[in-house]
């Protein structure tokens, strides 16, 4: 039994997820959003056991480039060594524990610990124990590796790096499953893949990490919460014509003619694909449609210029609604979350399309724009509302539940994916029942983590 687990009582996690779709019921216990002890367990059993997204290859293109991050609560350095290979090691000096890198990003052949000067190279190897010869060290000490410990597992899916502190975690490709096909729909927009457009606009909010995870699969809120964005776009077109700094019209985006599919993948991943909505020529990627269609076929190219979302449990969201943003979620406390935002774009995109992408991104998705601040504001209101301890459940997971069916729908077959479940139909369903998969993934990982760390059968 792991010593850390003994301190906390074992929990029956199944009591938090009331998923009985056959009876028309899907409820998630509010303690998932407000119980600090449950947050602690999520860190141990999900974030520190499973795969966590830590960065994109385009952030560290050159030898010795690095970024810092965390896996759960463990600070890490993701660095491309002088040999070109990317490694993840723990940002914790072997001597007395200081972090050896402090900036969010940088380029360094060596990391010198500021405290007593131990030195490490860009692969994490210890080069020097300061004044070792004079130190009166024991043989036992000399036998120790002083290197920065490698994170147990690091794997890449086409430029996306995931790390795990659990040496026995399943292979990444198996973990991603067909959610990877959604990732492909952005990666394959250009034969050269994706790049990260420079410029950070990261943010925090006073709410649980699952709120932003849920929100990215939530179309239901677009019409109400983002009404002011819709009005702004409408007025802009009226005053300046459709070509001037055009943004994807949300009212059009959620118009009645649109068709939508939601997909539940294993491991807690969810997908959403919106077809026949919005003017696709308003999307920057449409500038490359001809080339894409010739290379990947019309069905896949159509997907590449449509609204779609994939939420990879637990901490990476690829969201193309009014514009495209990738988000890395970093939970800080039960009621505090950091979000690192990325503008990913196809390499080789024409300059005019790129400028349009950037304007649309700043407009809608930036924390200084006109949509995201409304989202983060309501997460905080939900966090406040959820403090009502006499209330254990809410009703927010039922839209589309009656349409839930096993396996792929017609659209899924077209692009060759096999989700566990599909929910599809007219846009109006706004199928929040997709959270069934998210919370089944949550439950499985919590149960497995507890079983493995506490030696208890789930």
């Amino acid at each position: 039994m792991d010593a850390r687990v003994r301190e906390l009582p074992l929990r029956d996690f199944s009591r938090y997820i009331d998923a009985r779709p056959q009876d028309g019921v899907l409820r998630i216990h509010l303690d998932l959003f407000r119980d600090p002890e449950l947050f602690e367990l999520e860190m141990r059993y999900i974030y520190e056991r499973s795969w966590v997204f830590v960065g994109h290859a385009a952030q560290i293109p050159q030898p010795n480039d690095f970024i810092t991050g965390v896996v759960g609560r463990t600070p890490i350095i993701l660095q491309r060594g002088g040999d070109g290979q990317v490694r993840a090691f723990i940002n914790h000096c072997s001597h007395r524990g200081a972090t050896v890198a402090t900036t969010q990003a940088g380029n360094a052949r060596r990391h010198k610990c500021p405290y007593h000067g131990w030195m490490f190279d860009s692969t994490g190897k210890c080069l020097q124990v300061t004044d070792e010869a004079l130190g009166g060290y024991t043989d036992a000490f000399r036998r120790l590796s002083h290197d920065l410990p490698q994170v147990a597992r690091l794997e890449e899916y086409r430029g996306f790096f995931f790390a795990s502190l659990n040496p026995d975690v399943m292979p990444l490709r198996e973990y991603l499953g067909d959610a990877a096909v959604f990732m492909d729909s952005w990666i394959d927009q250009s034969p050269d893949g994706l790049e990260v457009v420079r410029g950070d606009a990261n943010f925090t909010y006073g709410g649980n990490w699952k709120m932003v995870f849920e929100n990215c699969l939530d179309i239901y809120h677009a019409k109400t919460l983002h009404a002011s964005f819709g009005t702004m776009v409408m007025n802009r077109v009226k005053r300046q014509g459709a070509d001037e700094n055009r943004s994807v019209d949300l009212n059009n985006f959620i118009s009645a003619e649109a068709e939508v599919s939601y997909y539940i993948f294993p491991k807690g991943h969810g997908g959403m694909w919106l077809r026949g909505a919005g003017k696709r020529e308003d999307r920057p990627s449409y500038a490359m449609w001809q080339e894409m269609a010739a290379r990947v076929g019309e069905d896949k190219a159509d997907m590449m210029v449509s609204g779609r979302v994939v939420a990879i449990f637990p901490n990476i969201l690829l969201v193309e609604s009014a514009t495209f943003q990738m988000r890395l979620i970093r939970p800080v406390a039960v009621d505090k979350t950091e979000v690192y935002a990325f503008c990913l774009a196809p390499k080789g995109e024409p300059a005019a399309a790129r400028a349009l992408r950037i304007r649309q991104y700043e407009d809608f998705f930036s924390a200084t724009g006109v949509a995201t601040p409304d989202d983060t504001t309501v997460y905080e209101r939900v966090q406040q509302g959820d403090q009502a301890r006499s209330i254990e459940w809410n009703q927010g997971y039922h839209r589309g539940l009656a349409l839930l069916r096993d396996g792929p729908d017609e659209a899924a077959r077209r692009i060759g994916i096999e989700p566990l479940h599909s929910i599809s139909g007219n846009i109006g369903i706004q199928g929040e029942a997709v959270y069934l998969g998210v919370y089944q993934g949550w439950l499985e990982q919590m149960q497995r983590g507890q079983a493995q760390l506490a030696g208890v059968q789930a």
């Binding site: 900036t103 990003a105 940088g106 457009v197 420079r198 410029g199 950070d200 606009a201 990261n202 943010f203 925090t204 909010y205 006073g206 919460l225 009404a227 002011s228 964005f229 009005t231 702004m232 007025n235 802009r236 005053r239 300046q240 700094n245 950091e338 503008c343 300059a351 790129r354 400028a355 950037i358 304007r359 991104y361 700043e362 930036s366 924390a367 200084t368 006109v370 601040p373 409304d374 983060t376 504001t377 309501v378 905080e380 209101r381």
Partner: protein, 164 residues
């Protein structure tokens, strides 16, 4: 106008901008800007480096033309954006004003700013530097460009025009 007169006129405009924003006199604030104005808050790409090209890099704010300012104001006052309901109470402080450059009818001013705000029982502050490009319009001066170097750019939930 000599340097001292320019500095006095320019400073007056900078103080007035803060005055209008703090009093939520949006139309008066909009009136300070030229039709082809540019309000730009570049983002950071390192500890001490910022982006240089808003057409190929992400800005915190890049609003080119008076229409962009107007539509942001319309949203703020519409009541339809929960992020701005209620609006925070703000206090703009502008100081360290330097006349960097001038020619007839134009001047460029550097300044330091701090905007304290109070919102939903929480107090916070944004701070950094401004660079204002002013142009003469008859007797008055107007803002043709405002560049905001925001130092604390890890955005706590909301950052809008009234915070900077």
């Amino acid at each position: 106008m000599n340097r001292a007169q320019l500095l006095a006129a320019g400073s007056e405009l900078l103080y007035r901008e803060g005055y209008y924003l703090d009093r939520q006199q949006w139309q008066d604030w909009l009136g300070l800007y030229t039709q082809d104005c540019e309000l730009w808050a570049p983002s950071w790409i390192g500890e001490h480096r910022q982006i240089t090209d808003p057409q190929s890099e992400i800005s915190l704010l890049y609003l080119a033309g008076h229409g962009r300012l107007l539509e942001r104001v319309e949203r703020i006052v519409s009541g339809a954006s929960p992020a701005s309901v209620p609006l925070p109470r703000t206090c703009h402080q502008v100081s360290n004003i330097l006349l960097l450059d001038h020619e007839p009818g134009r001047m460029t001013l550097h300044s330091a700013f701090r905007v304290d705000y109070f919102h939903q029982k929480k107090t916070g502050a944004f701070f950094g530097h401004y660079e204002h490009r002013l142009v003469a319009d008859g007797e008055a001066w107007r803002i043709a460009g405002k560049r905001i170097t925001l130092m604390n750019d890890f955005i706590p939930t909301v950052l809008d025009l009234y915070h900077v």
